[in-house]
């Protein structure tokens, strides 16, 4: 958590390599072209380890993958009702198809909606006395916590989630399955890596960023970032920062994919976004002048998770828990790392080649459960006029 980071310069420029890799990784072919590369052991014959892995140049640098294999777990069988948060969650349906190849008897019944909407919906359903999903798999911790804080979840067994670091599975009410870092996408034609400040605090006073920064105040991940800032620095300092950013001409966008695209287009010099959006832009436009910077130890370095929880009232507890165990297998973790560019949640699977490892980032010390205080953040953003 040192100010300035340990090797800040060296980890700034990594997208050039990762982008080339991701262009093919996103195409997501079913491993027909991958002859070798993975160790391929463990998984049942219907789908090999390579099927879970994205294809592309990053495979060469994957190294050894360890951890529980699909073959080590009991079979998934029968119908499971899953409320699945949208966004990049859409890519997760590919993973479910792969599980379907392994287990022909497994029938995931998936409902895709925005994560926050599903959380609100589960709260309405449960408060009216009904339970319509067995598992809630959301793309942000706030949504998971909003359901858990009302007591609508069943605690996950230790043997399922013990591989996950404690901070990503508070009280075992839910567990992270893939991480994503807050990052600063910047335009490489307009800024050099050293011009991007190392702390979020310095952004409003950086001359090079004046009138050319983008943020997405209505976007859940941005609100989680502001919530984190409130937890770290208090409401007063956060309010001041938001006001300073407005004075420095920060422009509002509807979501962070738009911000990352605007950065690539040169419409913005830099912005606040989740790390994988820049990778997506790069995958679509390999020559786009965009790269990522990470701040150190502050809210700008928050690592949020996509995670899953078992809902109260389910009649399929064993299947639901076994399903979450499957999300933490080496195969599934490799899928998240190589196909969605997320940070794996189990130590045996490294992130894709170009990305700094989770332990190389300097995330702030924050209880992810507290990220569900979105209400206070919204009030603050409203009072400052950012919303």
């Amino acid at each position: 958590m040192t100010e300035g980071g340990r090797d800040g310069r060296s980890r700034r420029r990594f997208l050039a390599a990762a982008g080339a890799a991701s262009a093919t990784a996103l195409a997501g072919c079913n491993g027909i072209l991958n002859d070798g590369g993975g160790d391929g052991t463990g998984a049942p014959a219907a789908a090999t380890f390579d099927d879970f892995r994205g294809s592309g140049a990053n495979i060469g640098g994957r190294g050894e993958i360890t951890g529980t294999r699909v073959a080590d777990l009991p079979d998934l069988s029968g119908q499971l009702n899953i409320y699945l948060g949208g966004g990049e969650g859409g890519l997760y349906t590919d993973l479910l198809s792969l599980f379907g190849q392994v287990y022909p008897d497994f029938e995931p019944n998936v409902r895709l909606e925005p994560s926050t909407q599903l959380a609100s919906k589960i709260r309405e359903e449960q408060s009216a006395g009904g339970s319509f999903a067995d598992v809630f798999w959301a793309v942000d911790a706030g949504s998971l916590a909003a359901v858990a804080s009302e007591g609508y979840t069943r605690a996950l067994p230790d043997d399922v989630v013990e591989v996950v670091p404690d901070q990503f599975r508070p009280d075992n009410a839910w567990t992270g399955v893939a991480g994503r870092a807050r990052a600063v996408p910047y335009n490489t034609d307009q800024l050099s890596a050293s011009e991007v400040p190392d702390t979020v605090r310095e952004f409003p006073d950086t001359a090079a960023l004046r009138d050319s920064m983008g943020w997405a105040p209505t976007y859940g991940s941005f609100q989680a970032f502001v919530t984190a800032m409130r937890l770290l620095r208090g409401d007063e300092a956060t309010r001041q920062w938001v006001t300073d950013m407005q004075d420095a001409g920060a422009a509002g966008y509807a979501n962070e994919f738009l911000i990352s695209n605007a950065v690539a287009d040169g419409e913005l010099a830099a912005g606040f976004a989740n790390h994988y959006y820049a990778l997506r832009v790069k995958a679509q436009r390999p020559d786009a002048p965009i790269d990522l910077a990470f701040t150190s130890g502050d809210a700008g370095a928050l690592i949020n998770v996509s995670g899953a929880e078992v809902l109260e009232g389910t009649e399929r507890v064993d299947l639901a828990e076994n399903f979450i165990a499957h999300l933490l297998t080496a195969e599934a973790q490799e899928f998240f790392a190589t196909r969605t560019f997320a940070y794996p949640m189990v130590p045996g699977v490294p992130p894709v080649g170009g990305l700094p490892r989770v332990d190389e980032l300097s995330p702030p010390d924050i209880d992810l459960r507290q990220l569900d205080d979105v209400g206070g953040t919204i009030d603050l953003l409203r009072e400052t006029g950012a919303l």
């Binding site: 209505t218 609100q223 040169g266 679509q284």
Partner: protein, 537 residues
């Protein structure tokens, strides 16, 4: 003498029966209004969770006032702009010798079928600071385009996609206008302008007002366009509260929004006292067309320009997405299936059918009787139209689970949500076409021995049929593009064109959105053809 007495006795009896019948109809209307208003009860239920002090501070916070002002401003500018655009275009296509009249009538009505979230997105990608147009003009030394984000841009985009409401209702009013009145005024020496002002205008005002009402409520409840165009309005405020798991705050703000709706409804009922000739036509004799002379080509160019920005632009951007290849645009996990289109058409047709069945009694009663319960029932159906989709959706999640778990996340509840949202469009067309049917025709049928029911079926219904059908088509095409309630209430695994478009856009794969979006526009254009075919243009 005895004949006359006999006649007046018959008339008294008929009136008594009609009153008796009216009571049944009033009760039915009231029940329908109560059913579509029921989601509002959820708002009150959730609002009780908000402590009074907090409620007061939320409702009077400077930011609440600011977004409320923005919303009212947006509703006003969009409504005025739609009238200024829709009425002249209606005049040109209905009353003048504009070249390619038929073509322009169709093309100028079509923007209504483009979902505003697609239109706004197309607009930003074309006219944004680094959009296609800026790229095109940069070599010519044009450094900076006018700001597209903000209230001005939002007004522009919303106007371009909803003005057809005013265009359609005004056209219908113009087509049903009896030309003899205008001719009489001209013969009496009035100038063309004076004849328009004194004769035509007063007769088309109710039609214009009916269209303006739909525009105003749409502008008030739309979330997508202001969000993309960067204007903070009440709906985005509600959406944020909702996303922050503050359903109680969202409910409170929604009630405030419904307050604004009530004001708009009251305003419109003053202007459009009798919604005569709002959509359906039935004029006795069409007037001679106004000859524009050389101006007709200027007029044609104007029409073409409107069609280009409101219709050709989004379609062009969709085609661009379609043909811009590359690995990033071909993501796995989202195979498109033709069944999505079948699902969309199925639920939309069901929503149109149910809406019409409910709209006929409500619209008929409101047009035939000036009683306040009849008017109130008719006005009440408009409330759902102004409720933000997510709020309505959550209300139905709660009530569905609580009182009807067997229909929760099944098609009937989804169709009910659509009906709550879009019923007023069918009510409006129905009541205005009922107004055009001479009430004496019913009396004549009754005097000739028909029962009230069969008189309605054999005399009134065939006459109001075009209006009813136009209402069904409007409900159909708005249901086709409805997003929030669709996402919340569709049966699990039931994907429609819009739910698919949402999924791929969320994941950033715009290329995949092109085909379903174009399909959506093509199918909805078919329903627009139904609306226009009902005209006698």
């Amino acid at each position: 003498m005895s004949t006359r007495e006999g006649l007046s006795a018959l008339r008294r009896r008929l009136r008594r029966e009609a009153d008796g019948d009216g009571l049944g109809l009033t009760l039915l209307s009231g029940a329908i209004a109560a059913a579509v208003l029921s989601p509002v009860a959820w708002l009150f239920l959730r609002v009780t969770d908000v402590p009074t002090a907090e409620a007061v501070s939320l409702l009077t916070a400077p930011s609440t006032t600011r977004v409320l002002t923005n919303s009212v401003l947006l509703v006003t500018t969009v409504t005025v702009a739609c009238v200024l655009l829709g009425v002249p275009l209606a005049m040109l296509t209905a009353r003048t010798d504009l070249p390619f009249r038929r073509f322009f009538t169709v093309v100028l009505a079509l923007p209504l079928v483009v979902p505003s979230y697609i239109g706004a997105f197309a607009f930003v990608s074309a006219f944004g600071p680094r959009g296609a147009l800026a790229d095109l003009l940069a070599p010519l030394g044009v450094g900076r385009l006018p700001e597209i984000y903000g209230l001005g841009g939002t007004t522009l985009v919303l106007t371009l996609y909803v003005y057809p409401y005013v265009f359609l209702t005004t056209r219908a009013a113009l087509l049903s206008l009896d030309a003899a009145h205008v001719e009489a005024a001209r013969i009496l020496g009035k100038s063309r302008l004076a004849a328009f002002r004194e004769v035509t205008l007063p007769r088309i005002v109710p039609g214009v007002a009916a269209g303006a009402l739909l525009v105003a409520l749409y502008a008030l409840s739309d979330f997508g366009t202001p969000a993309i165009m960067g204007t903070d309005v009440f709906t985005s405020y509600i959406y944020v509260a909702y996303n922050g798991f503050a359903a109680d705050q969202a409910a409170l703000l929604s009630l405030q929004l419904l307050g604004v709706t009530t004001v708009i409804l009251a305003l419109e009922s003053r202007v459009g006292q009798d919604d005569a000739s709002a959509y359906a036509s039935g004029g006795s004799r069409s007037a001679a067309r106004i000859e524009l002379g050389p101006w007709r080509w200027v007029a044609a160019l104007c029409c073409l320009a409107v069609a280009a920005v409101s219709l050709a632009l989004p379609v062009g951007v969709l085609l661009l997405w379609l043909f811009r290849g590359g690995p990033g645009y071909a993501a796995g996990g989202f195979p498109f299936d033709l069944s999505f289109a079948v699902n969309s058409v199925g639920v939309s047709a069901a929503a149109a059918l149910v809406s019409v069945l409910l709209a006929v009694p409500v619209g008929y009663l409101a047009a035939r009787r000036a009683s306040w319960p009849a008017r109130l029932a008719e006005r009440a159906t408009y409330v759902g139209y102004a409720m933000p989709g997510v709020v309505l959706g959550l209300a139905l999640v709660f009530f569905g689970v609580k009182f009807a778990p067997t229909v929760y996340q099944t098609l009937p509840l989804l169709v009910f949500a659509y009906v709550v949202r879009f019923l007023p469009q069918a009510v409006g067309t129905t009541s205005s076409s009922v107004l055009q049917v001479d009430a004496h025709l019913m009396e004549a049928a009754r005097a000739l021995g028909e029962s009230p029911r069969s008189a309605f079926r054999r005399v009134t219904l065939p006459l109001i049929w075009p209006g009813v059908l136009a209402g069904a088509a409007l409900v159909f095409l708005t249901t086709m593009k409805e997003l929030p309630a669709t996402l919340l209430l569709r049966p699990t695994g039931f994907e429609t064109l819009v739910s698919y478009i949402w999924q791929v856009q969320e994941a950033g794969y715009y290329g995949l959105a092109a085909i379903p979006a174009l399909t959506l526009i093509a199918v909805s254009a078919g329903s627009m053809a139904v609306i226009l075919a009902q005209e006698r243009g």
